[in-house]
């Protein structure tokens, strides 16, 4: 029995418009906090796509960093090794840096916890600002975004995923992950 349904929620121009709003919001937050030299880090894979576009849009001088949090997940002993780990690349000094951390979907908060743990293994940042393209219900940790593109209250069994990198598309799924057959981060995002 296949109970899986799939609805496109946002794509192409709509996402671009969203990114533009998010860029403005990030810019004004940085100004508010008197941060003039932020660095940006995107979380693999979807977060890195979003970060790439925001990084360009904001004209951030430091090169974009990317994190694969596979080695920091709290469910390794439950699900084992992901064979497609990408190397984390932080091409700047983290010590004393103000960091804008970008993910595609903020769900349980566990990915962000893992990402922050990893960032601290590179150094002690001055601050971390959290940005998510979509924020959904289902938080399991006290982690909230500073900037979110869309807020989505989803039902149990519903998931939202970002596909990309070109074009970017936010899709809502209903049904088990196995039926969907994809390997994105919705479970722990």
């Amino acid at each position: 029995m296949n109970t899986h349904t799939k609805t496109t929620y946002l794509q192409d121009d709509a996402i671009d418009a969203l990114l533009e709003q998010m860029g403005d919001r990030i810019r004004s937050l940085l100004r508010e906090r008197a941060i003039d030299d932020p660095a940006m880090i995107g979380i693999h894979t979807g977060g890195a796509w979003v970060a790439e576009r925001l990084h360009r849009r904001l004209g951030i001088g430091l090169p974009l960093g990317t994190l694969d949090i596979s080695f920091y997940r709290d469910d390794f002993t439950r699900i084992g090794m992901n064979p497609e780990v990408k190397p984390s690349r932080i091409p700047f000094e983290v010590e004393q840096r103000h960091i804008v951390l970008v993910d595609d979907v903020l769900h349980t908060g566990r990915t962000i916890r893992a990402a922050m743990n990893e960032i601290f293994d590179y150094g002690r940042p001055a601050s971390i600002m959290l940005v998510a393209l979509a924020e959904r219900s289902g938080r399991e940790l006290p982690i909230q975004p500073d900037v979110a593109g869309v807020h989505m209250p989803l039902l149990p069994g519903q998931h939202i995923t970002l596909t990309g990198p070109d074009p970017l598309c936010l899709t809502i799924h209903r049904g088990s992950r196995k039926e969907r057959g994809d390997a994105s981060e919705a479970e722990t995002a």
Binding site: I79, G80, M81, V85, S88, D121
Partner: protein
């Protein structure tokens, strides 16, 4: 020797890593890819990830090898596992029984993984067969049989320098007869699709079943390394050498020692490898060992990443699988 599938979980993931034999190209490639992602960890300020926090890994060395033990230890520590080092000298009698007793005692201390080095072929398999269901075993060299992590770090080094294995010519030079490293390398190179694997050795240092391993045999060094992309020198296993298989080390160097001059026959961009420790002036000249084509020290660094990969894959596969 046991059936090779003792190494795999029912879903095909790695449970033990005992030999290259029976493992497919996809799994070997997975090991290399996973190792690739671990190389960055060693370059960080904090050279550690929390992946295996709370796991206990026991280096069970029945045969001395400071270097191999150290790289396994470093790998385990970079993954945040706790490490026990046990150097146990083998007694000639009642080995099976002693081994089992040792194993049961350590299992009672809740060890999750054994890294086993033993002078007898099949020792790691024996331990894997008798280990508790949650325990993984990695073979760190057993007799003349296998040394799979060494072979995989060599494959990693080759892939880093040469990319794909198809189209490559690789020569393995030296004491093939006593070398578990060579056996594992030949299996791995062939599984990964290397175009041509050559072995170069005197007749007395070749095993009888050599041809069945899928290699081209040469007895002349210069002829054998002509146009190869990779030259792998083996260590002359002096401690394993019983009886007069060689006239003298000096004569061996005259015939099979790698010099800059002889290396001219290989491709201009050929790399030179050696599992260490080098007997300088026996297997190769210092000029070659320290020269621009030598990647010997890189092998050591990559060895840590490869061992991290194998450890985390084997312990991760204990987790139940999938989601």
């Amino acid at each position: 020797m046991s059936r090779p599938d003792i190494q795999l979980q029912p879903d095909g993931r790695l449970r033990h890593f005992l030999t290259i034999d029976g493992l497919g190209r996809d799994l070997l490639t997975d090991i290399l890819d996973t190792a690739e992602s671990f190389t960055g960890v060693s370059e960080r300020i904090i050279k550690k990830v929390p992946l295996l926090r709370g796991k206990v890994i026991c280096n069970l060395f029945f045969e001395n090898s400071t270097r191999t033990r150290t790289t396994f230890e470093v790998a385990a520590k970079r993954l945040s596992a706790d490490v026990l080092n046990l150097n146990i000298s083998t007694s000639a009698t009642a080995k099976g029984e002693t081994l089992l007793d040792t194993l049961r005692n350590l299992e009672a201390m809740h060890v999750d993984m054994f890294v086993v080095r033993h002078a007898d072929s099949g020792a790691a398999h024996f331990i894997a067969r008798h280990a508790a269901p949650h325990v993984s075993v990695i073979n760190a060299g057993d007799g003349r049989h296998a040394h799979p992590t060494q072979a995989m770090l060599d494959m990693f080094t080759i892939r880093r320098h040469k990319g794909e294995f198809t189209g490559l010519r690789v020569a393995i030079v030296g004491d093939i007869l006593h070398s578990r490293v060579a056996r594992s390398q030949i299996l791995a190179l062939n599984t990964l699709g290397t175009s041509e694997v050559r072995v170069i050795a005197p007749r007395t240092l070749l095993p009888a079943d050599c041809r069945s391993l899928g290699v081209h045999i040469f007895h002349d060094l210069e002829e054998g390394i002509r146009d190869v992309d990779v030259v792998i020198m083996l260590r002359l296993q002096k401690e394993r050498m019983r009886g007069a298989l060689l006239p003298s080390e000096h004569e061996y160097f005259q015939l099979y020692g790698l010099t800059e001059e002889r290396l001219q026959a290989a491709r201009p961009d050929a790399i030179v490898m050696h599992p260490g420790p080098i007997n300088r002036g026996v297997e190769m000249d210092s000029q070659v060992a320290d020269g621009p084509r030598s990647v010997i020290l890189q092998q050591v660094s990559f060895g840590i990443a490869v061992r991290m990969a194998v450890m985390s894959m084997a312990l991760g596969s204990q987790a139940g699988g999938g989601e």
